[in-house]
Amino acid sequence: MADRHIYPDSPELRARWGNFAWTEANAAKAKEIVARYPEGRQRSASMPLLDLAQRQVGAETGTQGWLPIPVMEYVANYLDMPIIRVVEVATFYTMYNLVPVGKFHVQVCGTTPCMLRGSDDLISVCKAKKMPTGGVSEDGLWTFTEVECMGNCSSAPMVQINDDNYEDLTAERFEGILDALARGESPKTGTQEPGRHTVEPVGALSSLTAMVNENHDYRGEW
């Protein structure tokens, strides 16, 4: 995260994104989002609108999308608020990409539970696939970011790729997913453990065993 920076302003950037405007569908959506907030509080819509803008940029570039300066200015203008306040929001939240990303933004969780369950191997896979940190791979497909906890600790290790989570990974499973994505397929999201549906215990229960058949009252046993 320490590497986060705003993509430098340049005439080329302005030429590419200077005339950014909502698509027809997004214009309707933006209107609806702004309408969710009370009159005079349009600023509250800055977060969903930045997300919408990022997705539109993504659709235009065939990637997850990012926020060039003219696009942030467009959002500020749309909400009639000072640009610096929009930039504050965009730089605070890591889900807004401040620099261009690849088609697949691979966010590997490296926080303790995932690390204990082998996230280092996943990072090695990314390295082997020549995914640059904070940049775009040569084929334009990949961007790698190591992130902090994404709240999937019970199915660690996990990776978030664009809007989807892939959990219970091993190096092989992860490689399989990446290859499938590269081929243009849509691999199964969520847990990759055969027979597991969500984050229910793997195998037999190790705790709260008395709860299996009845609503057991544990309070007397504390």
């Binding site: 320490a2 705003i6 610096i84």
Partner: protein, 674 residues
């Protein structure tokens, strides 16, 4: 009125007070970085921790905790001491230990509080974070590694200045304060963030590495860059004024100062007139005082003499000149250099009657012909406060960028004659309606039309609480204006009357805005301090003192009398203005009735007792009644360049750079590597 106990002492605090304020009322010092009386509460530095019962068993940030009935607050317990040490240690983790090369050294909150409340030694051995510099314009120098993220600068620009341009980017350890894309901070109060910054992150760029605070002699003075009369402190080392800082005066400038007032200080040592000159064959020639005064004596004007006062002169200078002229039998005095000729029969009608502080409570304000941001930057912050409290603002004049919602009614002064219905009803329905007429409005006859409206709508009224509200205001632009008008520096037809009188000798008291081509037949004796327009037109130049180099009285636009003291001596052969005028009186054989500055002041006070009270308001009596007139004409603001409105500012390199970079869009100058 909750009763609280601070360190065992019970006291009653006003409802709505915070625990921090309660502690201060009890005389306890609470260290703080982010809390500031005039800004919103952020509560992010955690330095103001105290122990409060009842409440959670942990230290509480006193700045953000309301004082409530029965609280027991301790500021001296072991818990508080440890908490402060802990916060201090965290703040210093990423703060560089570069005090010896930091300009804030010696007047740094972090330094002082570290000594008073810190641990004394560091236990931190890891790497410190470093942050790149952020460009904030020609006035603000940044060393962002020193920043402790108190966000005072962010809150100032958003809340007081009303220009959202500073923000906190990124988060956590990487949080950085910056302007958008590192553009220069462009509003007129921008340099106040330097005073607000509790550390050395934002320091003064022109003053960088110039002096240390303990080397400076501090003198109280009054800002002359506009008619507000902001209270300032002149810091001088030896014979040079090094910097100007605002002083706190809640009635006048609160604790802000316009960038022009702050940074024209370097103009005080440039382009100075430091010896007398006389014009020989069209060229100025340096001469001795005797020769120069002999040249004045040779003019022998008799009673064909007139005086024009500049924008920066003090009351004493104008009084001395008045005495000199009356000794010669003339009373042709004028101070409105650019040709304004409004009626000055009743000075209440040209005064800022609601008071600078009073305008904050107005609920409907009509501004006629005033670019308030440029003509009185500090007042603009007050207007913003009024709008925040719900006031409506209407402006007649060409559009300028307001820092608050305001409606422009058109640029022709005649709008005032028939105000739109909604404006009329807003003023009519207001409890405290106010009218502000600026110089550009006065030029188009808005004074009479304004007085008529004021009388019709009863802008002078007794409020429910028994106090008297007078919402009729005139906003001047020159520091000398109200003093000059009081002394009679006003002809019926303005400066044109002076030109029409064809005086043999025109005494120019630092008047640099006059069109001297009108005085081609007069011998012009210029008593001033800068080689500006006045000196170019002069036949005899008598070098005088700038406002920092003489004691003087200034009357601001609300009629407040304020005394400035002498900070440094004038350069070279320059003398104090009153002494020059006394010397002229000598060579012209006139008795002016004083031989020393004290005698001058005694005579002045005897004639104008209202000037006796430092900080007092002059009572100009009631507004004239039965006035009628109509305003007409396209309003044109007199100030074309905020940074270059007076001879001192025009001599200042800093302000020249501001003007070029901030107003005329030239590229920032490259800085030499340090």
């Amino acid at each position: 009125m909750p009763k609280v106990k601070v360190d065992g002492v019970e006291l009653e605090v006003p409802a709505g007070a915070t625990v921090l304020q309660a502690c201060e009322m009890a005389g306890k010092e609470i260290p703080r970085f982010c809390y500031h009386e005039r800004l919103s509460i952020a509560g992010n530095c955690r330095m103001c921790l105290v122990e409060v019962k009842p409440g959670p068993p942990k230290p509480q940030a006193s700045c953000a905790l309301p004082a409530s009935e029965g609280q027991e607050i301790r500021t001296d317990s072991e818990m508080v001491k440890k908490a402060r040490e802990g916060v201090m240690e965290f703040l210093l983790i990423n703060h560089p230990l570069d005090c010896p090369i930091c300009d804030q050294g010696g007047e740094c909150d972090l330094q002082d509080q570290s000594v008073a409340y810190g641990r004394g030694s560091s236990r931190y051995h890891e790497h410190k974070r470093a942050v790149t510099e952020k460009y904030m314009g020609p006035l603000i120098k940044t060393v962002m590694t020193r920043c402790i993220q108190c966000t005072r600068c962010v809150r100032f620009s958003e809340e007081i200045a009303g220009v959202d341009e500073i923000g906190a980017l990124y988060r956590g350890e990487n949080m950085q304060i910056s302007t958008y894309l590192e553009k220069a901070s462009t509003h007129e109060l921008s340099a106040n963030v330097i005073d607000l910054c509790p550390v050395g992150a934002l320091t003064s760029r022109p003053y960088a590495f110039e002096a240390r605070p303990w080397e400076l002699k501090k003198t109280i003075s009054i800002d002359v860059s506009d008619a507000i009369g902001s209270n300032i402190r002149v810091d001088a080392r030896g014979r040079e004024a090094m910097r100007i800082l605002p002083r706190v005066n809640d009635d006048v400038n609160e604790e802000w100062l316009s960038d022009k007032g702050r940074y024209m200080v370097d103009g005080l040592s440039k382009r100075r007139l430091d010896r007398p000159f006389i014009r020989l064959d069209g060229k100025l020639k340096a001469v001795s005082w005797d020769e120069a005064l002999a040249a004045v004596a040779k003019i022998a004007p008799g009673n064909s003499i007139a005086a024009v006062a500049g924008d920066l002169v003090d009351v004493e200078t104008m009084y001395a000149a008045k005495k000199l002229l009356s000794g010669l039998g003339s009373s042709v005095l004028e101070g409105r250099q650019t040709g304004l000729a409004y009626n000055t029969a009743n000075l209440a009608a040209v005064n800022f009657n609601s008071g600078l502080a009073g305008i904050e409570s107005a609920d409907a304000i009509l501004i006629v012909g005033s670019h308030v941001r440029w003509e009185a930057a500090v007042l603009n912050a007050r207007l913003r406060k009024a709008v925040k409290h719900g006031a409506k603002v209407f402006i007649i004049g060409p559009e300028w960028e307001t820092t608050y919602p305001a409606e422009f009614l058109g640029s022709d002064a005649s709008v005032l004659n028939a105000l739109p219905a909604h404006v009329w009803s807003a003023l009519q329905g207001a409890k405290r309606p106010a009218l502000i007429i600026g110089g550009a409005g006065l030029a188009k006859g808005a004074l009479e039309a304004g007085l008529a409206i004021s009388e019709q709508l009863g802008f002078v009224r007794t409020l429910e609480d028994g106090s008297v509200w007078n919402g009729f205001n005139v906003l001047h632009m020159a520091a000398s204006r109200m003093g000059g008008l009081l002394l009679g520096y006003a002809q019926k037809g303005g400066i044109n009357d002076v030109a029409a009188a064809k005086p043999k000798l025109l005494l120019s008291l630092g008047a640099d805005e006059v069109d001297y081509t009108k005085f081609a037949d007069s011998m012009i004796v210029y008593v001033g301090h800068h080689g500006d327009k006045g000196a170019h037109a002069a036949d005899v130049i008598l070098p005088a003192s700038a406002f920092t180099e003489k004691a003087g009285i200034y009357v601001n636009t609300e009629g407040r009398v304020q005394f400035a003291e002498k900070a440094v001596f004038a350069p070279g052969d320059a003398r104090e203005d009153w002494a020059i005028l006394r010397a002229i009186a000598q060579v012209l054989n006139v008795n002016v009735g004083f031989d020393s500055f004290d005698e001058l002041r005694s005579a002045l006070f005897a004639e104008y007792p209202a000037l006796l009270v430092d900080g007092g308001l002059i009572d100009f009596g009631p507004l004239p009644t039965g006035v009628s007139g109509s305003a007409a004409g396209e309003i044109a603001y007199p100030i074309k360049d905020f940074y270059l409105t007076n001879p001192i500012a025009r001599a200042s390199e800093t302000l020249a750079r501001c003007s070029a970079e901030l107003l005329h869009g030239s590229q920032p100058q490259a800085e030499a590597a340090e």
